[in-house]
């Protein structure tokens, strides 16, 4: 793939008034294992070239995955043909103009150069460890290297290179299932021995499960669980949808709508987090306080709506929720009883206007009382409103990388609403 050649071809042959060219090129290696053997093993590149063109306010776009001249000619003709017959768009925006972009460091040479053999050795080691404790392990080891580019007729030029390494492990021993997951832009911090020791410790703690009825109860959400919940809440935080009355955040900008212990940023300043120098709409990434000390400061806004309401366009490019210093042991002292939640699963919206979600716990729930873990319990279903739950935050723990795009704390929340249970 040669971005200069693709860009030159479009520049030479385009007849439309305006265009945006977006190119991404990924090379991936994915080793999937289950029940102590490899079940899938995938390698190869993926190319994606999207051209968006417009005549006046009439627009069209096309996407292809090859970069020879015949395909580029098809790309251009298809996008232009669509635009020519499209109706005038009352919300049309011209392409982005040149802008200074921040420097980001998302690419790591060691991660990029990981060999298939190294990755399989990681899998083998995980399986050996599981076998040694008479258990099975399932998961995926993956490595990605990607380049992306965004160019416009009006002079915007941006590019981003990114690496990512991931290794997940779900351990099953008897009826116990639990998971540990590493996902980051760099391979170097990954430590299989440490992760597996944590996995084994989680499994041991989950032995001897006892039945527990659903109720409103305090929860310690580990970063993996908090991440699932917060992404779903984040998807509802849309400026236009809110201004038009479709979300719980309508008329809440600038108000203390969340609990005062809760802040949420997208940030370029945390080197462990992946980020992007620009958005897909062609504006520079900046520090964004979405929520600061409980006050809703801004919401993701596209360029059209930002112009209409006199705001700045913005999008969520990563998630940083500042934590505190409380350990899980200290959190357990703050409430008479509660649950430690490892992860959530299958979260869905129940009521979009209220912001109510449902979902299940997964991979281990522990019951604590009088400051100590008593026993593991069955999984539970919750129906809860996350922004309202932030008003019941009692304590925050240290930040951990929950994934390459999320740096989150452990969070103690009072009165979390569980409504149903499983038998396992």
């Amino acid at each position: 793939m040669n971005i200069e050649r693709i860009a030159q071809y479009i520049k030479q042959h385009v007849t439309a008034d305006d265009y945006t060219l977006s190119v991404s090129n990924w090379d991936s290696h994915e080793t999937r294992f289950a029940q102590n053997s490899i079940t899938q093993h995938i390698a190869g590149p993926k190319l994606d070239i999207t051209l968006h063109v417009s005549y006046g306010s009439k627009s069209g776009s096309c996407t292809v995955n090859q970069d020879d001249d015949t395909t580029l000619a098809f790309l251009l003709k298809t996008a232009e043909d669509i635009a020519k017959i499209a109706p005038e768009d009352p919300e049309f925006m011209p392409s982005a103009t040149a802008v200074a972009l921040p420097e980001v460091d998302n690419c790591d040479a060691e991660t990029r150069s990981l060999s298939p053999k190294q990755m399989v050795e990681i899998v083998q080691k995980a399986i050996d460890k599981a076998k040694a404790m008479d258990a099975t392990v399932s998961g995926m080891t993956e490595k990605h290297y990607g380049e992306s580019y965004l160019l416009t007729k009006n002079g915007f030029v941006g590019n981003n290179r990114r690496t990512e390494f991931g290794h997940s492990m779900t351990l099953k021993k008897g009826t116990v299932e639990t998971k540990v997951d590493y996902n980051a832009k760099r391979f170097a911090p990954f430590n299989l021995d440490k992760d597996f020791a944590r996995l084994a410790a989680q499994a041991t703690a989950l032995e001897g499960m006892q039945s527990f009825e659903p109720e409103k109860i305090a929860v310690i959400l580990r970063p993996g669980a908090l991440q699932e919940l917060m992404w779903f809440m984040g998807w509802m935080m849309n400026r236009r949808q809110s201004d038009e009355g479709f979300t719980p955040f309508t008329d809440q900008l600038g108000k203390p709508f969340f609990g005062d212990k809760f802040s949420w940023y997208s940030t370029l300043l945390r080197p462990e987090l992946s980020s992007t120098p620009y958005s897909f709409e062609g504006y520079a990434s900046v520090e964004i306080p979405w929520v600061e000390n409980g006050v809703l400061k801004t919401m993701p806004t596209n360029r059209y709506w930002a112009q209409k309401v006199g705001s700045t366009p913005s999008s969520t490019y990563n998630m940083y929720i500042p934590g505190g210093t409380a350990t899980e042991e200290e959190m357990m002292q703050l409430v008479p009883r509660g649950l430690i939640i490892n992860r959530f699963w299958y979260i869905r919206t129940v009521d979009a206007k209220k912001g109510e979600l449902t979902g299940m716990t997964r991979d281990g729930v522990l019951y604590f009382e009088d400051g100590k873990v008593k026993n593991a319990i069955n999984n539970l279903r919750f129906n809860e409103i996350p922004h309202a739950a932030t008003r019941r935050i009692l304590a925050l723990g240290a930040n951990e990388l929950a994934s390459s795009h999320a740096l989150l704390p452990t969070m103690l929340i009072d009165g979390f609403n569980f409504v149903d249970k499983t038998t396992f």
Binding site: S37, H41, G44, T78, P87, S138, T170, V350, D351, R381
Partner: protein, 480 residues
Amino acid sequence: MKYLDLAMNAASSLGAEYADIRIQKTTDQVIYLQNLSLKHTNTEVVHGYGIRVFKDGAWGFAHSNVFSDEALLATVQKAVDIAALSASVNKHKKLRLAPERSYIATYKTPVEIDSIEVPLQEKVELMMEVNRTMMAYEGIKQAVFYLVIHKDEKLFASTLGTRLDINTQFIDPMIIATANYEGDSQSRTFDEGGKAVGWEWILSLDLIEKAKQIAEEALIKVKADVLGPESRRSLILDPNHLGLTMHESVGHPTELDRVLGWEADYAGISFATPEKLKNYRYGSEIVNFMGDNTLCEGLATHGFDDDGVPGQKWHIIKDGILNEYGSTRDTAMEIGLDYSRGCNRATYYFDQPINRIPNLYLMPGTKPLTPGELIADTEDGVYIQGRGSFSIDQHRVNFQFGGDFFWEIKNGKLFRPLKKVIYKSCNPEFWNSCDAIADERFWRPFGVVNCGKGQPSQSARMTHGSAPARFRNIRVGGSQ
């Protein structure tokens, strides 16, 4: 095509016990119209090939978008090398493939009018008219028309000698009206979930009338009452609601890869384990589920799966008893089956195929019964149409579903419209509570085109179907 033979010969000479190549060109046309503004009009073409090699009890899969002899041979070599690395781990637990014979065949989705070929202008004009119809109603704040047209052209060859030429397509129109009233916001959706048919289906739908109906129902819904606290009631579920319920609570638990734990790390496992086959009461005696990859207009009807196994029809649940799974060549052998049910499907050329839900449907009742008679025979219940919130645990036991439109039933009549209804149930309680199913005159299909599964994640499609059915003594109530 020369690449098929070149790849298979190369794989065989490199020691593959089995190999296949899938050359696939996928064309997607997506049009998204919101409040008369075209937000997205895109045609996407994804073209390449994936080569799968099975060696020493393990898979290797490599893909490429470059069509040249050199690139193809390099991709074969990569697949062989990866398979060898997989085999080094699997030496104590080798995968095996169920026997299969070779086929030389073609399959094409029967269509009268190829949807891709219909001029864009005709599509957009229809969509604008539908949008305008909804926006003409005072109180409708958002009108959306989302149209997806998808086409796959596949050439498949395997070292068994199979050569397949498969062309499939589907179309999925969805229209949504959203109304705001006194601080609440509610949507109503027309969504049949997609069908493997051509543009002739769109012309038969009378979408202008559908737009009027959903706009009016959105306005009714936003002003409707909320059901009180949860209590045990009867549910009558319309086919376009029940499609997703069966997808989650029967389709996924009977995928054999989940049963075997192959999805343990991500999508989850299944409570429907092999010792339950032929003896586990999954549902009441009137509950019969068919897996059917021969279903006319079915989204999983492809002639053959990506193992080169022909489409089949079989009982997954028979007279309420768990009968069989949906399987693939590599999962079938794990429970001692010497045949696959042909459920191995990939989404794009770069995806390794995985065990998927087939077209799966609930057989209609065998005695004459209309939906009206079903309602008339129900004292206290809720009738649910359309799909809403859905969530199920990773063993596929406990679930909670919402819907899109609700009527309270009192003394055999539709009493009042409702909003924000959810019901909670679990397996096997739910399907054992099914006491009546309307007859075949009222059986309707419902498509799913975005079934997410696998790592890396793939989005598959399949068709479900049922007649309206009643479920007794289910926990039903309003949301918080």
